[in-house]
Symmetry: C2
Subunit: 193 residues, 2 copies
């Protein structure tokens, strides 16, 4: 009977939107562009979605929710801090590989959110950063990590993991496992001998 389903169509719209926002930016993408990609007129998109803003919100909060719940899980496991941080880095890389476009939008186009949504997103990001920073701090206090400045360590990790979205292309010499392993080596052991 092949009932398409409004929810599935909505999902498709969100996915195509994420790809377009990633390559052209939120402001540079028109509803007509999106319609072209999805295969309907721009006006028809509004049967599945309230507004262009709502599309952005769905993408951004899907990603921030994922990060937040991954952090909560790691916080609850009883493992050394070094291992907790390793797990978070791995999860970052994997989410990037699986949901590259959406992660890219959450990283770059969140600034086009407005009102409450903008505030809520910034809050979520701040909570995540504080939670991650606390783990690093405790790891240093426990003697498991170098006594480096916590903010610098945190943002170096978050950034190192962000480039994956911009530069990594699978099947070009580096496999996903090698990628993970090499990033972990860089961040935990450093480049110098």
């Amino acid at each position: 009977m092949a009932k398409r389903g409004k929810i599935n169509q909505r999902q498709r719209i969100l996915e195509e939107a994420a790809k377009l926002f990633k390559s052209k930016g939120f402001a540079g993408t028109s509803m007509r562009d999106l319609g072209g990609e999805v295969g309907m007129e721009a006006a028809s998109i509004y049967n599945h979605v309230k507004s262009k803003d709502e599309i952005l919100e769905s993408i951004c909060f899907y990603i921030s929710d994922t990060y937040i719940s991954q952090l909560a899980e790691v916080e609850q496991t009883a493992t050394p801090y070094r291992e907790k941080i390793e797990t978070l880095i791995r999860q970052h890389i994997r989410l990037m590989l699986e949901e590259g476009a959406a992660v890219s939008v959450a990283n770059n186009d969140w600034k086009y959110l407005t009102g409450d949504k903008l505030t809520a997103f910034k809050d979520a990001r701040k909570r995540y950063e504080h939670g991650f920073a606390a783990l690093i701090e405790q790891g240093i206090a426990a003697g498991e990590l170098q006594p480096v400045n916590v903010s610098v360590a945190l943002f170096t990790i978050l950034s190192a993991v962000r480039w994956v979205e911009l530069w990594y292309r699978p099947g070009r010499g580096v496999s996903a496992d090698e990628l993970e392993q090499n990033i972990l080596t860089m961040l935990l052991n450093g480049l110098a001998k």
Copy 2:
């Protein structure tokens, strides 16, 4: 006599544009926004600048030219590879601190370049990356650096240095010198003990 000078006005326009593009994106910034910031009507901006595209080009190539010439200089000095890489990292951080808005535009809005300019910018970036990668490779071959995957090392460094633009605010606990020193420690020695 306080002659304003077309060149100075043009410079001011470029600087305000860089700030606006950084915060709202190239596509999200209108010539009317820019006029408001510079203190003239949108139409008047065209007395100092050919088009909105030309503004973007000036900003992007100013940054890429700077990177390219810094690399050329480092390549010519007779120092250990580890030191060359340290110098490049320091220069990246300093340029970010001095020209944050322009660097941000070159990093994020270059994708709105078109035609020849887009090609030329991508080429410049590729040349820079290849040159930097070659130094890492030679450093590994010389036994000065860990045998990590060269691409991963390169992009981890470039990314670690990019976050400065997004997250670092001077006068909030971390001085510029501490910032440099801590990033270098993270990248060269790693977080683990």
